[in-house]
């Protein structure tokens, strides 16, 4: 039972992070390799808002969420906008460089020590007993809930929202979309904003659950296989991919070797690339477009 709980929690973490990869890739065909760092930035934003709004946990979290949305939009407006229309590889390497820059800056500003935003906010993290004998910490449960909300919200937004439909249109055929009067820059900026937002929420909840160090960005990178296994342009795929990668990781830690935890997601990734490179729910034509 505990094993199932662990798998669900890890899968929700990966799913919440992976939807950021999917959103940006689906809209602009750019792979955002700075996603892990942006996620970590969200967690550090929470740390600084916790210091500002001391005592008021709700206000601190709300402020951090608004800030992270702003950061995402700014990343597009200030940096990625210049790479629109460049070679895809150049854009991807720009995100890599952005990740390095962010990581350096975060160590400079917040030091590399382990920090606990949960303590700063005055929130405790009691374990909840589940029916069936499993236990789950409060914030881990919050991650599962947040993932469900994020996917539900994204689905409704993309399916029925005005901007969501525009976003899908821009992803399908940017030229036609632009000619129909959709502002591509606004759409891309929005996609970066939402993607950073979901990533940051994941980062904040992980930091609240288990503390925050500068090595958190690797979790973001490990979530990438989840996005690819499911298909880089499919949200449903990302959810399923996250379950597969999460289950593989938890089971191999349990039954084979704890050291494997860092490498299992990438083994799954290699297997997926060999068997079905376009992912479980991805479109096949994607491959040649890259």
């Amino acid at each position: 039972m505990q094993l199932v709980v662990n798998i669900v929690v890890l899968a929700s973490i990966y799913a919440l992070i992976a939807c950021g990869y999917v959103l940006i890739y689906r809209v602009s065909r750019v792979l955002n390799l700075a996603h892990g760092e942006l996620m970590m930035l969200g967690a550090y934003l929470l740390l600084s808002t916790a210091a500002t709004f001391s005592g008021n946990a709700f206000a601190a979290i709300a402020a951090a969420i608004v800030l992270s949305l702003t950061v995402g939009v700014l990343v597009y407006v200030l940096l990625m906008r210049k790479m629109a229309g460049e070679m895809v590889l150049a854009a991807v390497l720009t995100t890599v460089a952005l990740g390095i820059l962010l990581r350096g800056l975060m160590v400079l500003i917040f030091t590399a020590q382990q920090q606990y935003p949960g303590q700063a906010l005055g929130l405790s993290n009691p374990a909840l007993a589940l029916p069936g004998g499993g236990r789950i910490s409060t914030f881990a449960a919050a991650i599962v809930v947040a993932t469900a909300l994020a996917y539900g919200g994204l689905f409704l937004f993309l399916q029925f929202g005005r901007w969501g439909v525009r976003m899908r249109a821009a992803g399908q055929n940017p030229l036609l979309a632009a000619q129909r009067g959709i502002s591509l820059h606004a759409i891309y900026a929005l996609a970066w904003g939402i993607s950073t937002l979901t990533g940051s929420i994941a980062g904040m909840l992980i930091a609240l659950d288990s503390g925050l160090t500068s090595s958190m960005a690797i979790i973001g990178l490990k979530a990438f296989p989840a996005a690819l296994v499911g298909g880089l342009d499919s949200l449903l795929g990302a959810l399923l991919g996250a379950v597969i990668v999460g289950a593989a990781e938890v089971l191999s830690i349990q039954y084979i070797d704890p050291l494997l935890s860092d490498v299992v997601p990438f083994l799954v990734l290699i297997a997926a690339l060999i068997l079905r490179p376009w992912g479980l729910f991805g479109t096949r034509e994607e491959l040649d477009r890259v």
Partner: protein
């Protein structure tokens, strides 16, 4: 071999032999001779610190040249270069530790392991392109580093493997000056191999694949074979660089081969300029010396001591900034700046090359 516009004004090639020649003009020959003399005199003029910097540059140059062959010429993107360096270093380290093998066995062994890994890294390229290929090399990098870490922890070398200096007869290679010349020779040999590959059939095939795969195949180039060949040659060179690194440092540990190292090598060929061997060398020099430059600049600031703790983070951020600046404002890299300077003087007092057809 395509070399862009002739180097000097008034020099036009009239035959294929001229086009293939390694050095084409007297200026090139003179400049190269002067450069060789300067390199030979360098270790006798500077302190040990600069000697170490030069050795690091040579090692980086071998790695950057091999990645340039793969990415800059054959057009196959790899984010796993540090994995290949690690494989070479670990091959040398493990063979030395377990079998006490001499260096003339471990270096070829490292090359063989590198070549074998090259096949593995290259196999996805037969099916995947661009981004997906980059991701597959990234995943393989994690696997290689995991295997290295696993070896370290199961054999009890949790901090790393010590490697003694290589011995030739009774003479141990430990003098920094001797190392300088060994690594200089290795880098020069790599450069020569790369240049020769590129001006032969293989290089032309790689360039054709990079330009357009379908057309290349229609021209009768075996795509699969040449792609794999690019991976094999590049990986073997990188593994040898890794083995040399292991001997030079006397120490192998997975910590030395972080993902950041992979990114640094990619940065070298981007900052240097894609599709140019000179670019790979310039990039290797730039990226290797950059952190030391930042450190020197920080020392110039008032109360320099207080920055010592954050030096690493400053380096990291500055490196990110430089990489972004190059990608956004100078995608052709240092070599692009160099070519623009050249043509500025070549065309002076005009700004642009005359439009083809106007020139009689």
């Amino acid at each position: 071999m395509f070399r862009g516009p002739p180097r000097a004004s008034g020099y036009f090639r009239t035959g294929y032999a001229q086009d293939l020649a390694l050095m084409q003009t007297r200026l090139e020959r003179t400049a190269l001779a002067a450069f060789a003399i300067a390199l030979a005199a360098f270790p006798f003029l500077v302190t040990a610190f600069y000697l170490d910097l030069a050795c690091q540059v040579f090692l980086a140059a071998i790695g950057a040249l091999s990645l340039m062959l793969l990415t800059g010429y054959a057009g196959q993107i790899s984010l796993g270069h540090a994995g290949l360096l690690a494989a070479g270093a670990f091959t040398a380290g493990i063979l030395f530790r377990e079998c006490n093998a001499p260096f003339w066995l471990t270096l070829p062994a490292a090359a063989a392991i590198g070549a074998a890994l090259g096949v593995i890294f290259g196999l996805p390229s037969l099916r995947l392109r661009g981004l997906y290929l980059a991701v597959s090399t990234l995943a393989l990098y994690f696997v290689v580093v995991y295997l290295g870490g696993e070896y370290e922890s199961t054999r009890g070398f949790s901090t790393g493997i010590m490697v003694d200096a290589p011995k030739i007869g009774g003479f141990a290679l430990s003098d920094p000056r001797a190392w300088y010349f060994v690594l200089l020779g290795a880098a020069a040999a790599t450069l020569l191999i790369c240049a020769n590959l590129l001006r032969s059939r293989t290089g032309r095939a790689w360039r054709a694949i990079r330009a357009h795969e379908t057309v290349a195949e229609a021209l009768g180039i075996g795509i699969a074979g040449y792609k794999l060949l690019a991976f094999v040659i590049s990986s073997a060179m990188a593994a040898v660089a890794g083995a040399l690194f292991a001997y030079y440092r006397g120490f192998v540990s997975v910590e030395a081969f972080s993902l950041f190292l992979s990114i640094q090598y990619v940065a070298m060929i981007i900052i240097g300029g894609m599709g140019s061997l000179l670019g790979a060398l310039l990039g290797a020099v730039f990226v290797t010396l950059f952190p030391y430059l930042i450190e020197a600049l920080l020392r110039k600031l008032p109360n320099a001591q207080s920055y010592a703790g954050v030096l690493f983070a400053v380096n990291y951020s500055a490196f990110g900034v430089v990489m972004i600046l190059f990608l956004v404002f100078e995608p052709l890299g240092l070599i692009g700046i160099w070519r623009r300077l050249q043509s500025y003087f070549l065309l002076w007092p005009f700004k642009h090359r005359p439009i083809a057809g106007q020139r009689q």
